[in-house]
């Protein structure tokens, strides 16, 4: 069967189901069931897409059958197909987690449609092969995220979401400006065509300036140093399931966009652009580490760990060699899964103790042993203790760093692993060891079990991702090959 539209399914299916859900505002059960069905179908489509890309190489479809550089092309290489699959997979578990934690009031107020619209935008941004279309998909998921962050209308949410919107509106304006400048130089919007045109004119200085402008645009979304200032405050405001979605997905779209543009467009002046990216990524790690150690608030500690991970991934990207790129791809997917797992787990801790302040917790291991052990596994996975999934990604990134003679940077990454470990183990020590400082509030045992299910599933998934690395490596290599050799991408899009 000839399925040229296959790569559109992970975008269209969530979109379709989101629209259907708008008609069933009050029926919570319908909302839940239909959302799960939609996500399951999208997951099947995206797994099918990964399998197809593995066998047949990059999939492209140009909308309206315009020839490639003129129409809007959607391109699915292994990198984007893997990210799309991971996005849908972890959204599925976070939605299951929401059933017991988000509250009926929010469920009745377009919570699930907003999630599905956000998935539409994120998958679109991962898949599109047109730089302006990427802007449009960015706006799609941003507007859905504006709804999610403010949904509930608590005092703190309203205060923080205004800042979140403001930062994103300004960064979107910069995105349009960057695209305009790029268009004035290369006269095209198709990403493959831009890559080819930049290669033809051999990246003059103006293109490097545009490269930095794009880094600023995507850096604001992806929270790199010094543009991460908005993230800790805004992400701490919404309830945990929304925080988990944001932490696992939104910054990663920014990271993806930086990776895509810095491996496809701006590859002719690596000494300047990628050195710049390298230095910023290391500073991001340092800033994240300081934040992760500074707070006694569960949410803030994990939120600052998002920033550290962004730095680690971009360090891998900045190496521009196959090893570093494989590591970056592997670590990016690892980080999406592990952040979802960690946020869900700390959500359960906050539910049980009724506080997110570490100083007011203690002795949970006596009452909630399984939660403690799963948290410990997730924490070890985040820090990168073998054979858990963080290890291999960091190993490859550091190997790539040494191959590219970035010894100091690689050592910084290694040192940051220790700080990451310290920051998450501190949660374990304060929350699970010792004696309870105050009696736990009365909570429902059934709710606790229902919340643990998706958490356990996510942790098991990260373990499988780490242990099954041998089996997954061919996929990572395929993704890294396209990133290190842009001509594969260009040829696939402009084949006619």
């Amino acid at each position: 069967m000839n399925m040229i539209n296959l790569l559109l399914f992970p975008i269209i299916i969530p979109f379709f189901f989101a629209m259907v859900l708008l008609f069933f505002k009050e029926q919570v059960v319908v909302q839940r069931v239909v959302t799960l069905i939609g996500l399951a179908l999208s997951l099947v489509a995206s797994c099918w897409l990964v399998a197809t890309v593995k066998v047949e190489g990059i999939q492209t479809v140009t909308l309206g059958s315009w020839p490639a550089p003129f129409g809007i092309t959607m391109v699915s290489d292994m990198f984007s197909a893997l990210l799309v699959t991971t996005t849908i997979l972890l959204t599925f578990f976070i939605v299951v987690y929401s059933f017991k934690s988000i509250g009926v009031e929010r469920e009745k107020f377009f919570y699930y449609p907003a999630i599905l619209f956000m998935i539409t935008g994120i998958n679109g941004a991962f898949t599109t092969g047109d730089i302006f279309n990427m802007f449009v998909f960015f706006e799609v998921f941003l507007i859905a995220s504006y709804l999610l962050i403010v949904l509930g209308g608590e005092k703190r949410q309203l205060r923080e979401s205004i800042k979140y919107i403001l930062v994103n509106v300004i960064s979107s304006a910069l995105f349009v400006i960057a695209v305009a400048y790029l268009y004035s130089v290369v006269g095209t919007l198709s990403m493959a065509d831009i890559a080819m045109k930049i290669a033809e004119i051999n990246q003059p200085g103006i293109i490097s300036v545009i490269a930095i402008l794009f880094l600023i645009v995507f850096g604001i979304k992806g929270a790199i140093f010094p543009l991460y200032f908005w993230l800790p405050g805004s992400y701490a405001a919404p309830p945990i399931p929304v925080l988990a979605l944001f932490g696992a997905l939104l910054t990663k779209v920014g990271v993806y966009a930086i990776t895509r543009t810095y491996t496809l467009f701006f590859v002719h002046d690596i000494a300047f652009t990628h050195q710049f990216l390298l230095v910023l990524s290391l500073l991001t790690i340092v800033a994240g580490c300081i934040g992760a150690l500074a707070y006694f608030d569960l949410k803030q500690i994990i939120i600052y760990n998002i920033i550290i991970a962004v730095g680690v991934i971009l360090f891998g990207v900045a190496q521009m060699n196959t090893t570093g790129m494989e590591g970056a791809v592997y670590y990016l997917i690892h980080d999406m899964l592990i952040k979802a797992a960690l946020f869900v787990l700390i959500g359960i801790i906050i539910y049980i103790t009724g506080t997110s302040n570490l100083r007011e917790m203690g002795g949970l291991i006596k009452t909630h042993a399984s939660l403690g052990w799963f948290y410990l596994i997730a924490a070890f996975g985040l820090a990168g203790i073998p054979p858990l999934s963080g290890f291999l990604g960091k190993l490859l990134i550091i190997k790539g760093g040494f191959e590219a003679d970035h010894t100091v940077g690689s050592i910084v990454i290694l040192a940051s692993s220790l700080i990451v470990l310290l920051s998450v183990i501190r949660i374990f020590i304060y929350a699970f060891w010792g004696e309870p400082t105050q009696p736990l509030p009365v909570t429902n045992k059934g709710t606790y079990r229902a919340m643990m299910m998706p958490a356990v599933a996510l942790v098991v998934l990260t373990i499988a991702y780490g242990v099954g690395a041998e089996w997954l490596m061919p996929y990572m290599s395929d993704a890294a090959n396209v990133l290190t050799d842009p001509s594969i991408y260009i040829d696939a899009v402009l084949k006619e």
């Binding site: 706006e139 005092k155 205060r159 923080e160 979401s161 403001l166 509106v169 349009v176 305009a180």
Partner: protein, 113 residues
């Protein structure tokens, strides 16, 4: 003509930055409006203002306007219109709850919401 437009865009950006840096939330939102106006004009200018004929396929016409920036601006205008509407609604809700539109008083921290 490009030069004139560039100056106008510069003025728009200057005004936008000034407004965005002010304390009143309403002025900040107006600032983002000006910022997106500047960005839209920038697309038009960057596409080049040359070309007298409409971009329609007729034999013998070579000096036609570039249709792509116009399509881009249309999309960008619609998006910024929608986002501004969302932002105004949220700003109003926030004003209703917090009883202030002064950004300085909306700093907040973890200890007291």
């Amino acid at each position: 003509m490009e030069l004139v437009l560039s100056i106008i865009i510069g003025v728009l950006f200057t005004a936008a930055v000034y407004l965005i840096l002010s304390r009143s939330l309403l002025k900040v939102i107006l600032g983002t409006g000006l910022l997106s106006h500047g960005a839209h004009l920038l697309i038009l200018t960057m596409g080049g203002l040359g070309g007298m004929a409409p971009p329609v396929l007729i034999d013998g016409v070579t000096d036609f306007a570039d249709p792509l920036p116009q399509a881009l601006i249309l999309t960008a205008i619609v998006i910024s219109f929608g986002v501004t509407a969302v932002m105004l609604v949220m700003a109003y809700r926030m004003y209703a709850v917090h009883k202030t539109d002064n950004m300085n008083e909306l700093r907040g921290n973890d200890e007291h919401d």
